[in-house]
């Protein structure tokens, strides 16, 4: 891939991640700017310190925002914002 193609691919992921971060901050009423959340930080326990009630809220929010139902998914999909991005926008998934 050329540098421009890589930049475009990174920008697409960034756009999805930003959308997820805004959704998390808004739905869970967090007092931080969405961009303060990094793509790779843990979300539950360590990191953003979300709990199981927050997960339920996010299930609903993700379905409303992205039309993707994650109810039966393993907890790993909530491993990070970037991991969630793979779920709501499968085009982003690494090819390897």
């Amino acid at each position: 891939m050329t540098l421009d193609q890589l930049r475009a691919k990174a920008a697409e992921r960034r756009q999805t991640c930003t959308q997820i971060k805004k959704m998390i901050v808004s739905r869970l009423d967090l007092e931080i700017e969405p961009d303060w959340i990094t793509d790779d930080q843990p979300l539950f326990g360590r990191g953003l310190e979300l709990d199981s009630l927050d997960v339920l809220e996010l299930y609903v929010a993700i379905e409303a925002e992205f039309g993707v139902a994650l109810y039966d998914s393993e907890m790993a999909v909530f491993g990070s914002v970037s991991r969630l991005a793979d779920e709501v926008n499968p085009a982003l998934r690494a090819t390897t």
């Binding site: 891939m1 050329t2 540098l3 421009d4 193609q5 890589l6 930049r7 691919k9 990174a10 920008a11 992921r13 960034r14 007092e31 931080i32 961009d35 303060w36 959340i37 990094t38 793509d39 790779d40 930080q41 843990p42 326990g45 360590r46 990191g47 953003l48 393993e74 907890m75 790993a76 491993g79 990070s80 970037s82 991991r83 991005a85 793979d86 982003l92 998934r93 690494a94 090819t95 390897t96």
Partner: protein, 354 residues
């Protein structure tokens, strides 16, 4: 500083100098110890983590000013992880802070105790009492998907299901210890702060139920879940934002050392960002150039062989606009792919405590 358990560790134990400490890197084969940690339960000798007690009437105010997260209401039943920064927003250390009745107890990262202690003393405007407790206390830890079972057999099964970052003082074998639900690797994790004279017995008893793992296995498992490892990642000049350790800083807090510098770095949007990568069998050196489309976009910060992935796993610090998962870069002539975190899904996420 050598581990107080040195005379208990097997003859072939490989030690390494990490900052100010000599710590067991591995007791046997790191890959075996890693598997114990990821698949069963590992006991860890964390004597390289320095314990520093802050007491006095202004102890909490002092800690609140020096730590990047909010510890004002940290009771003796809670602990939390936080960065400690200098005025330029550079990472001094990543600590575990335990609320105590008479102040706060800080646990440094491995080998960083001397630097942390100096930093605290230099900033002691409040006149608090800062005491290095490493002469009388040490830290043992349990990590693994079945570490909760070891807690049950070793101490008390009810402690295994404490909420994350809960702390209790409990009796073990007639000795008072501080027990905390913590964790660095995404697996169930617990720490025991124990008097040095009781550490050997606790270590030996823990070994009846868990396998010993050294610093190499621990750091690999930390890397795999993107738990910052300051000694590898906090390179000179790198901001918290570039390291990606924002979550260990609370910018909603009005004041702490380094706050303005961190906010300035965040608001500027400049600099590089850190992303994980995998690919190839060779381990690139720290500083190896990272190329994208033939252009130099950054460098390798840390890389190891991941027993979990069966391949090289590393962190690269690259131009912010290219710090994203799912991209193909070249490192040392080898194609690598950037990753989403966690790079390995901890088994504990699918195993309930019973």
């Amino acid at each position: 500083m050598a581990t107080v358990l040195a005379n208990l560790h097997p003859e072939g134990t490989v030690y390494g100098e990490v900052g100010d400490s000599s710590v067991p890197l591995r007791f046997s084969a790191s890959s075996d110890e890693y598997r114990v940690l990821r698949e069963r339960a590992a006991v860890l000798d964390l004597s390289g983590n320095r314990l520093i007690e802050i007491t006095g009437p202004a102890a909490v105010d002092f800690a609140q000013r020096l730590l990047a997260r909010d510890v004002e209401y940290l009771t003796s039943e809670r602990c939390m992880m936080s960065l400690v920064l200098d005025e330029n927003g550079q990472v001094v250390d990543q600590v575990l802070a335990f609320g105590r009745e008479n102040g706060i107890l800080l646990e440094s990262s491995c080998g960083a105790g001397t630097r942390l202690l100096e930093h605290l003393e230099e900033h002691n405007d409040e006149g608090v009492v800062i005491t290095d407790r490493s002469a009388d206390l040490t830290v043992l830890a349990l990590e693994g998907p079945y570490a909760w079972g070891v807690v049950g057999r070793l101490i008390d099964g009810e402690l295994a299901s404490l909420p994350f970052e809960s702390v209790v003082e409990t009796d073990w074998n007639g000795t008072e210890i501080i027990f905390a639900r913590t964790g660095f690797t995404g697996e169930y994790g617990y720490q025991m702060i124990v008097p040095i004279e009781a550490a050997a017995e606790l270590w030996c008893q823990a070994l009846e139920h868990a396998g010993a793992a050294g610093q190499e296995a621990l750091e690999l498992a930390m890397l795999e879940v993107r738990q910052p490892i300051p000694r590898h990642e906090a390179t000179a000049g790198a901001s918290v934002i570039e390291i990606g350790a924002n979550w260990l800083v609370d910018v909603t807090k009005d004041e702490f050392v380094g706050r303005e510098a961190v906010l300035a770095a965040f608001e500027s949007g400049q600099g590089r960002r850190t992303v994980g990568f995998t690919g190839g069998d060779s381990i690139p050196e720290v500083g190896a150039r990272v190329l994208a489309g033939g252009e130099d976009i950054g460098e390798v910060v840390h890389a190891v062989h991941s027993a979990g992935l069966g391949a090289t796993l590393g962190l690269a610090r690259v131009d912010a606009e290219l710090a994203a998962a799912g991209l193909e870069f070249t490192v040392g002539g080898v194609e690598v792919t950037t990753l989403t975190s966690p790079y390995i899904v901890p088994k504990s996420w699918s195993i309930p405590i019973i």
